[in-house]
């Protein structure tokens, strides 16, 4: 049993925890600890270092925690959800495997109740986060282009956009023909050397880990500086619960166990939870006291509720000519937000972002084709294969997921090896979501027709797409229907904060990493002020 004393303890080192630890480390002479249940990823082990990289996709750096199955990969029962959890547990969290999409929420996303009569309003506005989006872009290194009509206010200095390549130019032509909005993706990818990291050489599959370090995952964007600034990073260390003072107004300690079996308590003035939309409610729900019989911070009954997962609708088709569609960063090409906002002409509220994906490498193309029976072994093999390889166009539509009380994370009666209850998720697509999906697929098909693309596959929701885990400890002004205040502090406690995507009140229809980091920086900047320091923004 070991006790460790710090000023601030951050739990989790994903996008939120990394940003939080970094800002604390540059804001004063604080003694900071960050706990991470995984290890520091070793980029020399990423699949793209190897000639047989496509065979290595489903190994230690698979996005499926059940396939990795390491000590860090806590069990999540997602059998009651059509969308399965995809993640990475290690320093940098899921950004290690993300595609690098880094768009912001729209101002309207913070006021959906006022604007469209659905969801809930955030207690903060886009303008509150804007300087933190800029700060996050600056430390991360974001490629993009100023002037996007969908984001007229972006003032960040951006790196040059990721080139569209032949596939992007083809789609852009179609989008122009349809008179729809589009813009090159905002990408956490170095398109020129920045932050001590090299320019991207287009290895392609960013979502297997970037072996050259050009993708700005949180482990490479934040941690070199945070470690230089003496943040104590405890890897392979899992938080297991909290200790409180007698009045149960303050957290006095965080209990932990590490992979070697050592256990003990971290003591600090401030505790910040950044364990994502499942890990955060799990940890809080697992600590029950007399004052919090249903888990810490759950007096409103909203802890673990309102889970949003961003269902994806997927449409794939082929063109007759070679458009080098497998070349370039997999996820980051271009996006259209023509149908992002609510329209009175449509049956549903809110909307979606259409993203163009680059297609997989040759082995994965053949694997998928055989699984889907579009490629056959035998005399037609080569003909079938070349109908798809470098000729495939994939559209991924991120659907706005509105908060629904019944979509939730709760604790199973089963426990894992460290004694923590296993998290279960119960998630169903709402009627509004289903309507958006239907509409998104229709619009994708219209685009395909304009481009003479032959549709080969369409489905929704994509099963293993539960990367975006949001909403399960939402912020709000009213303690009756929210878990934290607008500064991420749990209503009933003086020194326990949340800084991750579980705070999201609505999901928007964009990848959340940019907002997670901006929100974490906003929360920590206010904590710095509370600690007597000077705010960064």
């Amino acid at each position: 049993m070991t006790n460790k004393d710090f000023d601030v303890v951050v739990i989790g080192s994903g996008a939120a925890g990394s940003a939080a630890s970094w800002l604390l480390s540059i804001s004063g002479n604080y003694k900071i600890a960050c706990l991470e249940q995984g290890n520091f990823p070793n980029s020399s082990e990423y699949p793209t270092n190897f000639f047989d990289w496509e065979s290595r996709l489903e190994t230690n750096y698979s996005f499926n925690p059940k396939k990795r199955n390491t000590w860090a990969d806590y069990e999540i029962d997602d059998s009651e959800s059509p969308i399965k959890v995809a993640n990475f547990n290690g320093v940098g969290g899921s950004t290690v495997l993300f595609s690098g999409h880094f768009p912001r929420l729209h101002p309207s996303d913070f006021r959906t109740k006022d604007v469209d009569g659905v969801g809930e309003n955030w207690p903060i506005q886009y303008s509150d986060l804007e300087p933190y989006y800029d700060l996050s872009d600056q430390i991360t290194g974001v490629a993009g282009l100023i002037g996007d009509p969908a984001y007229p206010g972006i003032k960040s200095r951006l790196l040059p956009p990721v080139p569209l390549g032949k596939i992007g130019e083809r789609i852009a032509y179609g989008l122009n023909k349809m008179s729809w909005h589009w813009w090159p993706s905002y990408s956490a990818i170095n398109t020129k050397s920045a932050g001590g990291r090299p320019s991207c050489i287009n290895l392609g599959p960013c979502n297997t880990g970037c072996s050259q370090g050009a993708k700005s995952s949180a482990d490479v964007a934040f941690w070199p500086q945070s470690l230089r600034n003496s943040v104590s990073l405890f890897t392979s260390t899992r938080a297991t619960g909290f200790e409180m003072d007698k009045l149960q107004r303050k957290i006095t300690g965080l209990k932990y166990v590490n992979q070697e079996g050592e256990s003990g308590t971290f003591r600090a003035k401030i505790f910040i939870i950044a364990c994502n939309g499942i890990g955060t409610p799990r940890l809080l729900l697992a600590t029950k006291t007399e004052k919090f019989p249903d888990g810490i911070g759950n007096n409103s009954g909203h802890l673990g509720k309102n889970l949003m997962l961003h269902p994806l609708a997927y449409l794939e088709g082929t063109v007759k000519d070679d458009i080098s569609s497998s070349v370039g960063p997999h996820g980051c090409c271009l996006q259209s937000q023509e149908f992002y906002e609510t329209s009175k002409d449509r049956e549903f509220k809110r909307g979606f972002t259409m993203q163009v994906l680059r297609s997989p490498g040759p082995l994965e193309t053949a694997r998928l084709g055989i699984r889907r029976k579009t490629i056959k072994l035998g005399p037609s093999f080569h003909h079938d294969f070349y109908s798809f390889f470098n000729r495939t166009i994939s559209l991924s539509m991120i659907i706005e997921d509105l908060p629904e009380f019944h979509n939730s994370v709760y604790l199973s009666s089963n426990t894992d090896a460290t004694g923590l209850p296993i998290a279960k998720i119960d998630y169903k697509l709402s009627k509004n979501t289903k309507e958006i999906i239907k509409f998104a697929l229709t619009k994708g098909r219209e685009l395909f027709r304009a481009l003479d693309v032959k549709e080969t596959l369409a489905f929704a929701p994509v099963s293993f797409s539960g990367w975006h885990l949001m909403g399960t400890a939402r912020m709000g002004d009213d303690p009756q229907d929210s878990v934290t205040d607008k500064f991420g502090r749990i209503h009933e406690l003086e020194n326990l904060y949340i800084a991750d995507s579980s705070l999201f009140v609505t999901s928007g229809a964009v990848n959340p990493a940019s907002t997670i980091q901006a929100l974490s920086l906003f929360i920590v900047d206010n904590i710095v002020e509370k600690l007597g320091g000077k705010k960064h923004v």
């Binding site: 793209t48 270092n49 190897f50 000639f51 047989d52 990289w53 496509e54 065979s55 282009l145 002037g147 009509p149 956009p161 990721v162 080139p163 569209l164 390549g165 032949k166 992007g168 130019e169 852009a172 032509y173 989008l175 122009n176 008179s179 909005h181 589009w182 813009w183 090159p184 991207c200 050489i201 287009n202 290895l203 392609g204 072996s211 050259q212 070349v327 370039g328 490498g361 040759p362 082995l363 053949a366 694997r367 055989i370 072994l377 035998g378 005399p379 093999f381 080569h382 390889f389």
Partner: protein, 127 residues
């Protein structure tokens, strides 16, 4: 390698129009492939030898009667094929040592965005 096995692998991935690499040439014969090979040979001897069945029939029978073996065979054969240096070269994939070398994306002429900007400006004016 027995002739029947060789012929079946060459049926699954025949020589393409622009190369001479077929299934039997890339088949690795090591590790888990030894077991696959043994099981497959048994299957082919039972279903093909002394019958009127073609290799196409054999593949269909394999899919139905032993989907696990079929799936293992497919995965192993595809890996061996697409990781063969000659196939990689033909597909413009990277060569080993040093690997990876990446790709160059041609730079984009961003005037392609003009219609988006013009449309946005005219919408703003209408407002």
């Amino acid at each position: 390698m027995s002739r029947i096995l060789e012929e079946f692998l060459d049926f699954l991935i025949p020589v393409g129009q622009d190369n001479s690499i077929s299934g039997s040439r890339v088949w690795n014969r090591l590790g888990k492939r030894t077991t696959i090979e043994h099981e497959l040979l048994n299957f082919l001897e039972q279903k093909i030898l002394n019958t009127e069945h073609t290799y196409e029939d054999a593949l269909q029978l394999l899919e139905v009667s032993n989907p696990i073996l079929c799936s293992s065979l497919t995965e192993a054969l595809l890996e061996d094929y697409f990781e063969h240096p000659e196939v990689k070269t033909r597909l413009s994939q990277n060569h080993p040592a040093p690997f990876p070398i990446g790709y160059k994306l041609p730079s984009t002429d961003w005037s392609i965005l003009e219609p988006v900007i013009v449309r946005s400006e005219s919408t703003q004016k209408r407002k």
